[in-house]
């Protein structure tokens, strides 16, 4: 059966994920070393040790994401994160930076290493590069691939594959996007934040809500119109060819309907996005996919409508997995 990899932004969410049936939980330290570096989120060193012990006691694994790109002259902060995660008993480290993978492979040769989605390894040759140079055992695939493309990768690779099945959806290749830092000075790659809340403003107007990021208007919502995050790639803009959601509508990924295709494609693990979400999200979404996987095993139909309230814009998409736009 495919593994279910679940997000946790706090120790309480990690417990919720285990309760709801997670095989593994991914999480990060409360600093710039991880790509969900939001205020009030993530784990202190002590919380990480205790949470890993708790998870192991209940038969779940913990994957520690250290998936930003170390800042020049401050690489030791990231080295310490790797050392501390390893000594806390992490079952795998999720890394994006080549220098950090090199350090980890040399310093902790027995530590299982996963290639973060932020490394944007989108084909078998790129994946082989990470496997051959750093002994990477698993790659989290970018959300730019279709299911047949994923099948081609699993056929050609020795690396296990992990794919996103639910949650926020980057429409740009992950780890290769500077839209956020262009507007705010803070980027996923460097500070671990995309469209950071510190630069978001919501303004209530007569017509509804206006969201802006770093002074740029991202969207205007009518009073009862469903909303999304004020992320740049899901904003409403105008061009000489028309206005609207130029990059992507505010939607979330929901690949419940594609689980069979994923399994047949040889996918090892399914990943739920959302370390920045609360316990209610973690519990409901994890339980949904636990049931959907059980249904897949027994050959019955999975319920595909029930996660709608958790989606941006109250709408979901199959993303690149089914490239209707190709």
């Amino acid at each position: 059966m495919m593994e279910l990899i679940c997000p946790a932004g706090t120790p309480a969410a990690l417990k919720s994920a285990i309760d709801a049936g997670a095989d593994a939980i991914y999480c990060g330290f409360n600093d710039e070393t991880n790509a969900r570096n939001f205020p009030g989120l993530n784990f202190s060193r002590d919380e990480m040790r205790k949470s890993i012990a708790l998870a192991h006691g209940r038969g779940a694994r913990v994957l520690v994401a250290i998936n930003t790109f170390p800042r020049a002259s401050a690489v030791d902060i990231w080295h310490r994160a790797v050392d501390d995660a390893a000594s806390a008993g992490a079952d795998a480290l999720i890394l994006a930076d080549i220098g950090l993978m090199d350090y980890t492979a040399r310093r902790h040769p027995n530590q299982r290493l996963h290639v973060s989605v932020q490394a944007a390894a989108a084909n078998p040759d790129a994946i082989a590069f990470y496997a051959e140079n750093f002994g990477a055992r698993r790659v989290v695939l970018p959300r730019v691939l279709s299911v047949p493309e994923i099948a081609e990768i699993t056929r050609e690779s020795t690396c296990e594959t992990e794919v996103f099945v639910f949650g926020g959806l980057c429409v740009m290749a992950e780890g290769r996007c500077s839209l956020s830092s262009y507007a705010t000075g803070k980027s996923p790659n460097m500070q671990g934040v995309c469209s950071p809340p510190s630069h978001v403003t919501y303004e209530q107007t007569m017509d509804g809500t206006k969201s802006s990021l770093g002074g740029f208007t991202i969207n205007r919502f009518a009073v009862s119109e469903p909303a999304g995050y004020p992320t740049l790639c899901k904003g409403r803009f105008s061009t000489s060819q028309g206005a609207g959601y130029i990059f992507e509508d505010p939607v979330s990924l929901d690949a419940t309907a594609l689980l069979k295709g994923m399994r047949d494609a040889g996918v090892t693990a399914l990943k739920i996005e959302g370390r920045q979400r609360g316990r209610a999200y973690v519990e409901s979404v994890v339980r949904h996919f636990r049931h959907a996987l059980a249904a897949l095993e027994s050959g019955s139909e999975a319920d595909i409508a029930s996660l709608k309230p958790f989606t941006e814009g109250q709408a979901s998409t199959l993303g690149a997995y089914r490239k209707t736009w190709r």
Binding site: G9, T10, P11, A12, A13, D19, F38, P39, G40, L41, P196, P197, S198, V200, T201, Y202, E203, Q204, T209, F221, V223, S224, E225, P226, A227, G228, Y229, P250, Q276, R277, G278, R279, A280, Y281, E283, S284, R287, H288, H291, A292, A295, S300, E301, A302, D303, S306, L307, K308, P309, F310, T311, E312, G313, Q314
Partner: protein, 181 residues
């Protein structure tokens, strides 16, 4: 597959306007005393709760239940709560939602982002501070019934049952996820 545990959302109920109107002339001081007691109690029992606020520990949050004729001003450090008819100016952030949604958020029974997406929760001002507050509260796993009833000493158990009944009426028997813990 009809998954009984899957999210069965639908908006939580709001206080009927007539009830809210009837509450308007109520004096605010007793309410403030009780709620401030609950806040201090929560803080005493979870001293680390506001650590997650980090730099935002000194922020002043205005919380406006849209279906009630009053609002709250809350500070974390030191823990302080006041009940007001209208939110004052100069707050760092304002949060408005129905009382039921606010209570469910406090207990981590609904997802704040989901409420934002469906426009049932409105945030203005310092969005980062609100996010930090949300994350701090979510990790604390608060049980409001237990916190409130502990104020009543030997009468705690009946008070707790009364609160749970009241909560059940306001929130419904379950949160967004459709399951109780």
């Amino acid at each position: 597959m009809n998954d009984p545990s899957a999210a069965s959302p639908g908006p939580l109920p709001t206080i009927p306007p007539l009830v809210a109107l009837a509450m308007r002339p109520l004096p605010l001081l007793p309410l403030q005393l009780v709620l401030a007691g609950v806040l201090r109690r929560i803080h005493r029992r979870n001293p680390a709760i506001f650590d997650r606020l980090g730099d935002h520990a000194r922020a002043r949050f205005g919380i406006k239940p849209i279906d009630l004729p009053f609002a709250f001003v809350v500070e974390a450090r030191p823990p302080r709560l006041s009940v007001v008819r209208d939110l004052p100016r100069g707050l760092d952030a304002r949060i408005s939602a129905s009382l039921a949604n606010l209570l469910a958020l406090l207990e981590g029974r609904v997802d704040g982002d989901a409420l934002m997406f469906s426009r049932e929760l409105v945030v203005e001002g310092d969005v980062e501070a609100v996010l930090a507050l949300r994350n701090a509260i979510d990790d604390a796993q608060l049980d409001l019934a237990a916190e409130a009833s502990s104020l009543f000493g030997p009468l705690g158990a009946p008070a707790r049952r009364a609160f749970e009944a009241a909560r059940g009426r306001v929130i419904g028997s379950s949160g967004q996820g459709g399951q109780s813990r």
